[in-house]
């Protein structure tokens, strides 16, 4: 109980301290993007991770929350509505919830393929509508507005980025807290039960459809909150927020982060936001790297990156984590070199410049020597990596060696 409180207090402190560390304009804009992504990815995990519903159209609730929020901001500006901007994310959430209440009536009848196909269809439907109903969706240009409208909140008008950050931080904390608490309620527990075995859930008294419907509506609410924050942060919402691309991105975040754990989508959202801003500034090829990361995760880390972290739990409890530090470092050197040389080759193939500088190394896309250098380094580092693996495996076994601990835990959700 106390340790759980400590985790939440730590989360709040991290949220408060982050903008002091990353105080540049770029830093703040990435942080704002991150908070939005975290809420969105967590809401997606309510569907897929908790409720077993694979959605290809979760952006619908995010986008609709965003559109409703931006329209409300405009109404506040023209003084047809009195609402403090602080509450706009919640209003976006209510928007997402209402759409989910409507769509969920028929989409949650079945899980599995049927649900996935309906979500895809609904996603396309909304994306197509956004270009047809221009008065609401604003056509290709979208709808824009201003966030420094209406009454100020204790003198804060949210004109500054840092003010937006603290607003977003407040909402990400609340949303995360309530999404976590939802997993601990009877409805949340039964969402897991229905995910595991919808037939059995019916024989213990629960309508699987109703359980799915409740989870679906809750996921719509939180996606809408993320959309409302998007509207405040960017002051514009376009059809792009509703499309399959956005739905795909949130699926990637949740999956790469790890569906089985509550913190998984947070890890995924933070990592992918970083990649999309930092890596994309460095190379045009970042989408390719993201794709490769996704495929590797699906193939080798079915529990995602957070699964990789949680795998170290037993060794941690045995106090043997330090046994792994040296072997990890030894393996990391050739592994890193291998990845960097592969990326170098991809970048080289992509580049059309005569002189191409990669990691301080002048390379020539048309010169054979550059290619040989990279390929040679890749091959050598791969072989070196193979040589280090047996030691790594031994160290892993020593660190985890013990008859199965008595307090083995089921997945937490």
């Amino acid at each position: 109980m106390m340790s759980r409180l400590a985790v939440w207090a730590g989360f709040a402190i991290v949220l408060m301290v982050l903008p002091l560390i990353f105080s540049s304009s770029l830093g703040l804009s990435i942080l704002n993007q991150m908070t939005i992504a975290v809420i969105f990815a967590l809401s997606y995990n309510m569907l897929l991770g908790q409720g077993g519903m694979l959605s290809f159209g979760h952006a619908v609730y995010y986008g609709m929350g965003g559109f409703i929020a931006i329209h409300l901001l405009n109404m506040i500006e023209f003084e047809t509505l009195m609402l403090p901007v602080v509450l706009i994310p919640l209003a976006g959430g209510v928007g997402g919830l209402l759409v989910a209440v409507l769509i969920g009536t028929f989409s949650t009848r079945r899980a599995g393929t049927v649900f996935a196909m309906i979500s895809l269809g609904i996603g396309e439907l909304f994306a197509a509508s956004s270009l047809i109903f221009e008065s609401f969706f604003g056509g290709e240009g979208g709808i824009s507005g201003w966030r420094d409208v209406g009454p100020t909140f204790f003198g804060i008008d949210f004109g500054q980025q840092i003010e937006v950050y603290y607003l977003a931080a407040f909402w990400v904390f609340m949303a995360t807290l309530f999404m976590y608490l939802f997993t601990r309620t009877p409805a949340g527990r039964m969402a897991n039960a229905v995910r595991d075995n919808h037939e059995r859930a019916e024989f213990i008294g629960y309508s699987a459809r109703k359980v799915r419907y409740i989870t679906f509506c809750a996921a719509g609410l939180f996606a809408g909150i993320a959309g409302g924050l998007f509207a405040i942060n960017y002051e514009i919402v376009t059809e792009e927020n509703l499309t399959l691309v956005t739905s795909g991105e949130v699926l990637l975040m949740a999956y790469i982060g790890g569906l089985g754990f509550f913190i998984g989508p947070i890890v995924g959202a933070v990592l992918l936001t970083l990649m999309s801003s930092v890596v994309s500034a460095w190379t045009d090829m970042w989408m390719l790297y993201l794709g490769i990361l996704f495929v590797l995760t699906v193939m080798f880390l079915p529990r995602g990156l957070s699964g990789l972290i949680i795998m170290h739990g037993p060794a941690w409890h045995l106090g043997r984590l330090r046994l792994l530090i040296l072997p990890y470092t030894i393996s990391a050197v050739p592994a890193l070199l291998f990845v960097l040389t592969l990326m170098g080759m991809i970048e080289l193939a992509h580049s059309s410049a005569q002189e191409f500088v990669y990691l301080g190394l002048p390379l020539n896309p048309e010169g054979l020597s550059s290619w040989l250098l990279l390929a040679g380094t890749a091959a050598v580092s791969w072989l070196a990596l193979q040589r280090t693996l047996p030691q790594l495996r031994d160290a892993w076994e020593t660190a985890n060696a013990l008859p199965r601990p008595k307090d083995a835990q089921g997945e937490e959700n």
Partner: protein
């Protein structure tokens, strides 16, 4: 009055008739077994009673109320639950979570999303008690999917009784168990069905004759006899249709 009453229940799949006009009364507190050769329609009959399949004609009354053609969750809420022939548990949840989920509806939690299960002490105490009854307390934190087969079957039973249902249907509860596992399972069944009404399908004749107060024999969708174990043993029609060699072997 009978607790469960089947009145001329029939079930067809397309043109194939699987259950033909079965009428059967099961009394409060009785342990009743349904036996019959493979393909006789025993599991289908269970699916009709528990609401998995709709009936083609006839009526099923539980505690005086018609329950045929109603969804499984409504039947379960009335106090009639079942186990499955194939292990049917929540495999990614811990053993404790499995039992706790099975308790939720009967303890009145419905679909609430404003109460936290960890703070509901009565619920958690009841779940611990049920685990104790099942003899599974030391397995409480294991994911159900990782349990040994016999333990999964015991948990399966636990899910069926956790809700405090008055009537339990058990579909081949000891199938696939070793002799000693089966003996333990029978003892468990005897203990946990004390004061409840039990309807079971089972192939193992020793267990059936040991456990049941009454036995019904189903052959090709028709009920050919329904009586005490002694009378069933002596029944010529049953011997011809099904039991003959088993009894000679016994």
């Amino acid at each position: 009055m009978a607790l469960l009453s089947l009145q001329q229940v029939s079930k067809q799949f397309g043109v194939t008739s699987v259950i033909e006009e079965v009428s059967l009364d099961i009394n409060q507190g009785e342990r009743h077994a349904i036996i019959g050769p493979n393909g006789a329609g025993k599991s289908t009959l269970f699916h009709l009673i528990s609401g998995k399949y709709p009936v083609s004609s006839g009526a099923i009354l539980f505690d005086g109320q018609p329950i045929h053609n109603r969804p499984p969750y409504e039947i379960a809420r009335l106090g009639l639950t079942r186990s499955f022939q194939v292990t049917n548990i929540f495999h990614r949840l811990s053993v404790f979570e499995n039992v706790r989920c099975a308790l939720l509806w009967s303890m009145g939690y419905r679909y609430s999303f404003w109460r936290l299960v960890d703070r509901e002490h009565k619920l958690n105490r009841k779940a611990e008690q049920t685990l104790e009854e099942l003899g599974m307390s030391d397995l409480r934190n294991y994911p159900a999917g990782e349990l040994a087969y016999a333990d999964q079957r015991a948990l399966e039973l636990g899910l069926a009784i956790a809700s405090g249902a008055g009537m339990i249907l058990l579909d081949e509860p000891v199938a696939g168990m070793s002799l000693s596992e089966a003996q333990r399972a029978v003892a468990l069944i005897r203990r946990i069905t004390e004061g409840r009404t039990l309807l079971m399908v089972e192939h193992d004749m020793d267990i059936v004759f040991d456990l049941a107060d009454r036995i019904s024999v189903l052959v090709y969708g028709k009920l050919i006899a329904s009586d005490t174990p002694e009378a069933i043993r002596a029944n010529r029609a049953v011997q011809e249709a099904y039991l003959g060699e088993v009894i000679e072997n016994a």
